[in-house]
């Protein structure tokens, strides 16, 4: 099966076939014949000839993965051709959703619905672990919607406000 992936920001293409323990892979034209064991969930023990790699993989978001390997931590995005869909869900032209970069509590609103904002102006303040973070509008426009109130608990990536 063919995959497109992005590893630490670099685009690569991978072809991979797996039959039980044996995996044949072609990464950007480099061929790997591997034996792969899975001693724990999310842990891949990969034998490349006599070289052995312990890789730990976990997912942060739907198609974004973190892989820890020896002294390195990689972030990888895997797009399989079959499940490929438009990622432009919430980035339609002219509309901008302000999202919480971290889970936390809304401390206060700096703007109200209907306010005009400049690019870089703060709209909502979210606090977690004694640190406050101002969520700024990345473009100029009007706040058409504020979806949270002071005191609300929010999740990471939750939409706080919409600027048009």
């Amino acid at each position: 099966m063919k995959y497109e992936a992005e590893i630490d920001g670099r685009q690569i293409s991978i072809e991979l076939e797996r039959r039980d323990r044996s995996v044949s892979a072609m990464v950007d034209g480099r061929r790997y014949e591997l034996e792969v064991l899975c001693p724990e969930r999310g842990l891949y023990l990969i034998f490349a000839g006599e070289r052995v790699y312990e890789a730990r993989a976990w997912s942060a978001e739907s198609d974004l993965f973190t892989v820890k390997l020896r002294d390195r931590v990689f972030s990888a995005r895997v797009i399989d051709r079959k499940h490929r869909r438009s990622v432009a869900d919430h980035s339609d032209e002219g509309r901008q959703q302000l999202t919480a970069p971290m889970p936390g509590k809304v401390v206060r609103l700096l703007r109200e619905q209907g306010d005009e904002v400049e690019a870089g102006q703060g709209v909502v303040v979210v606090e977690a672990m004694k640190m406050q973070n101002e969520i700024k509008s990345t473009k100029a426009g009007r706040i058409v919607e504020i979806r949270v109130a002071a005191g609300d608990t929010v999740n990471a990536n939750q939409v706080l406000a919409v600027v048009e």
Partner: protein
Amino acid sequence: MFKKLLIANRGEIAVRIVRACREMGVSPVAVYSSADQSALHVRLADEAIHIGPAPSSESYLVIEKIIAAAKRTGAEAIHPGYGFLSENAEFALAVESAGLTLIGPPASAMKIMGSKTSARRAAIEAGAPVVPGTTQPLASVEEAEALAATTGYPVMLKAAAGGGGRGMRLVRSPAEIASAFSLARSEAEASFKDSSVYIEKYIERPRHIEIQLIGDREGDFVYLGERECSLQRRHQKVVEECPSPVVDEEMRRRVGESAVRVARAAGYVNAGTVEFLVDREKNFYFLEMNTRLQVEHPITELVTGRDLVHEQIRVAAGERLSFSQDDIIMRGAAIECRIYAEDPQNDFLPSPGLIKRLSMPSGPGVRIDSGIYEGWKVPLDYDSLLAKLCVWAETREAAINRLARALDECAIEGIQTTLEFFRAVSRDREFRLGNFDTGFIDRFLADGMKTDNPEGEDDRDAQLSDIAAIAAVLHAKERAAKLDLSSAQAVESRWKLYGRISQRR
């Protein structure tokens, strides 16, 4: 010795103190907020008292609730840990008047050291060198201008009640002082409800070292060497080591004796830390005294072989110090990394949440002080310190190699942590050489945490990156298979339901 001791704290430090209690045959009592009922410090205690809802202002910071919990369980002493009420003189008085013992200094010493200006006065009286500047709050801009001119630019304006870098302003020229003065005052007022500001000579590229000491009630003091704490981000320590790469035996004695004089002058008892700035000519200046156990105390324990928490408890129980100055021998080198729930790739934003998997390093010379476990949900209400990784080895170089090794064995899944950042620091050339000052981390981050690859490493990197990509694809496949399976089951059950509905018709 006490039979029962209450720990007025949470997280890794509460666990640290529970361990000391167990080792000494003292029964540990935990307190917890609603967010912490299944926290590690509660799991390890003999008794646990609920002291309120998650916000610390309604739980860990409420003096009456802590005292009531001690009374109710019959604990004779309270260990405050660090943070929360640990440097609160009012709390120290309340503990005393309730007939309990605080594992820490008397309220009077906390008060002297609690204000930067009175601490400076105490240090000057004790004959300790201080950064040139004032000991009284500045009355006006004119006074600030006059004093800055005599001290010589650059100068620092600092909040008298300050800490953690707030209410501090660097002033490089006379043109900047008026606006800096009003900014520092308003920031000090907002942060500490006290607008007093004083002036100090600014030390360029200083190092930050601190002396660990402990005193008993008879007035005997011992200093346990220094810790190097120059690696800071936004004035918060992130990596500490013991001993400092720039302090020799002779300097250690001079700084140590100076620290003891300051502590003695303040009527200090129990464990405390005196902080100094060191300039490039190795002149040292008193900065402040922390009147509690420090986060980074384990590295001193590793190098001196003394258990500071045991000693704290013994001294508080009225015993004499169990060692003298001559008994303190600095052996090898130790380094601590503070593992925070923060995302180094995203401006160190906090990252609370569920710890899905946890694997911690072990082996020779590794010590972990942790407040977390696999399956624990890190609350968003408290500071982001998860655990401390400390290593010890015969030399500084060996300790750094061991640190890099231990960091590579570490994995915390589910939340973002500063582990990756430490991996980069431990391989940085300047860090390895011991060439740094308090500005190191900011410069390191500005350079994008880049480490210099030894020769031939590029090939290895390419291969590692391929293997990582393969692992990511394998994981994605496995997850997709699981998802397909569950959605297939969902579809099937809908069909079954539909079938039943049709049959009934």
